[in-house]
Amino acid sequence: MEATFLLTLLITFLASFIGYELISKIPQTLHTPLMSGSNAISGITLIAAVLIYPEVGGSQILQIIVLIAIAFATLNIVGGFLVTGRILGMFKKND
């Protein structure tokens, strides 16, 4: 249990570090699509909703709360990626 937690913490640290290094190199021109792209990625919390949804079957209120979370996260993923694609398409055609 202890070791798993430490390993998870290590992964968190490494992911943050890699993210920091790579994102620091992204030019100012792409900062808006970077934000809309990270909006989409923050929708990954959908995973948590998918994991816990079958467990809350007993309570209707909790089920509705998870459904709201699912709606928010899905909107973020779909809307976020498509908008980012639209913006990046505008940069692409300039090549």
Binding site: T8, I11, T12, A15, S16, I18, G19, Y20, L22, I23, K25, I26, P27, Q28, T29, L30, H31, T32, P33, L34, M35, S36, G37, S38, N39, A40, I41, S42, G43, I44, T45, I47, A49, V50, L51, Y53, E55, V56, S59, L67, I68, A69, I70, A71, F72, L75, N76, V78, G79, G80, L82, V83, R86, L88, M90, F91, K92, K93, N94, D95
Partner: protein
């Protein structure tokens, strides 16, 4: 099997970030990130799709379609609002999941702490983002509250500790309420031009909320992706703060620019006409355009493109100088210009263009103010002292298109406007440019 899918997903996310580093490869980055997301979500089902009822699938399909609709309909000038809204959704989703997890009484105490943390951050992000969206739409004015400062910074943090020991649903709901109010107050006191920092900061928080939700449900991919979003938001937040020479705490404290000081001008500015601007431009060899929030408000980007074409046809070199905090979100100006097909290679950052102003014939300032205020270099008492600015006053000629002499966000006069080498064209950014373009036909 699931582990391998997740591994591929994590690698793809990081690979996508790497590709995002250049405008020419960034569209591929988006594709890889989408693939990574699809794999990650797919893996969460663990090949058992029968566990889920129709309400679950209907919610996914309906909100997915809504996402498609929004992404097709949204105007590029509305991007700050959209990103703000999505920050709120991301935070809200993670916060809601944390609350549901807290109803599970067998949760170990360490997870209870993480869940409350995720809930507080998520709910704060949710309400704060909605307020930010209202501010961006101009529906809410600043209000300053001293009570808010103490309340919204410390209370949620203090609440986490007793709540985790007490484990009581009522208390959790109370914490949600406190976090929601804290988000509202915190963002409400911050002014519109500080929104680039606020949006980036809330973006980061939405990632941190997701990351902590990953700890509760033991999903490493959720932790990794959440951490990436958190890191991205933090980087942008610090960049924006650095571009204003202010600390994050100072920005979050709010109330900037509400005290108007030193707002008088020693003399009248030299005012000019669209015809004169057209004549001057036609004799120039190099022109630098400095766009600001005024360009976005006036929706003048296509007119800017038209002028750029006119100038380029006359073999005049045209460049764009973009200050990091121009507009209402990081990269706002770049997107508006890209929308009208202006080459990203003509867009320059502050570091890249500042040394060129002294050899530039004409600088056209378009709805920007504080980011070209030379007081940032000279006046130690000025609220913007030390802020990196575009040194447009070093150019041979500066033409400022602005509706009036009114001060910018910082609430201070801009001596650039009465500089010897500066002329004012009093007009709305779009109308002013249209008149200049028309005058070209007569030159």
């Amino acid at each position: 099997m699931i582990e391998i899918i997740l591994l591929i997903s994590a690698v793809l996310f990081i690979f996508a970030l790497k590709l995002f580093g250049r405008p020419s490869t960034a569209h591929r980055a988006n594709f890889f990130a989408m693939l990574a997301m699809a794999l990650a979500v797919f893996s969460a089902f663990n090949f058992d799709f029968s566990k889920y009822d129709s309400a679950f699938y209907i919610t996914i399909v309906v909100s997915g379609l809504l996402g498609v609709l929004i992404s097709k309909r949204v105007q590029m000038t509305q991007m700050p609002e959209l990103v703000g809204l999505f920050n709120g959704f991301g935070g809200g989703a993670s916060g809601a999941i944390a609350y549901v997890e807290l109803s599970n009484t067998s949760l170990p105490i360490s997870d209870v702490f993480v869940a409350i943390f995720s809930m507080v951050i998520g709910m704060f992000t949710f309400s704060g983002s909605l307020i930010a969206v209202m501010k961006l739409r101009g529906k809410l004015n600043n209000f300053s509250t001293k009570l808010g400062n103490i309340f919204s910074v410390f209370l949620p943090i203090i609440l986490i500790i007793p709540a985790a020991l007490e484990m009581n649903t009522f208390l959790y709901e109370f914490i949600i309420l406190v976090a929601l109010i804290a988000g509202v107050i915190r963002v409400a006191v911050i002014g519109g031009a500080d929104m680039p920092v606020v949006i980036a900061f809330l973006n980061s928080l939405s990632g941190i909320a997701a990351m902590s939700a990953g700890f509760i449900v033991n999903s490493i991919i959720l932790i990794v992706a959440g951490a990436l979003v958190g890191a991205s938001g933090i980087i942008l937040t610090l960049l924006m703060c650095g571009a204003m020479n202010r600390t994050l705490l100072d920005v979050l404290k709010g109330g900037f620019g509400t005290t108007t000081i030193n707002n008088e001008y020693e003399k009248d500015p030299i005012s000019t006409s669209p015809e004169d601007v057209a004549i001057q431009l036609s004799y120039a060899e190099s022109v630098v355009i400095v766009p600001g929030y005024g360009m976005a408000v006036a929706q003048a980007q296509s007119t800017v493109k038209e002028l750029t074409n006119t100038l380029k046809n006359k073999n005049i070199e045209v460049k764009f100088a973009i200050h990091p905090v121009a507009g209402r979100m990081p990269g706002h100006m770049n997107v508006l210009l890209a929308e009208v097909d202006i080459d990203y290679e003509d867009m320059f950052t502050l570091e890249d263009i500042n040394s060129e102003f002294s050899t530039t014939d004409i600088v056209l300032v378009l709805g920007a103010n504080d980011v070209v205020n030379p007081l940032a270099r000279t006046d130690k008492d000025s609220p913007i002292y030390g802020m990196p600015i575009l040194d447009v006053d070093f150019a041979k000629q500066v033409i400022v298109i602005k509706r009036s002499m009114s001060p910018g966000y910082a609430g201070i006069a801009n001596p650039l406007f009465i500089n010897e080498n500066a002329k004012m064209l009093f007009a709305d950014a779009k109308e002013g440019l249209e008149k200049i373009i028309k005058s070209f036909e007569l030159v």
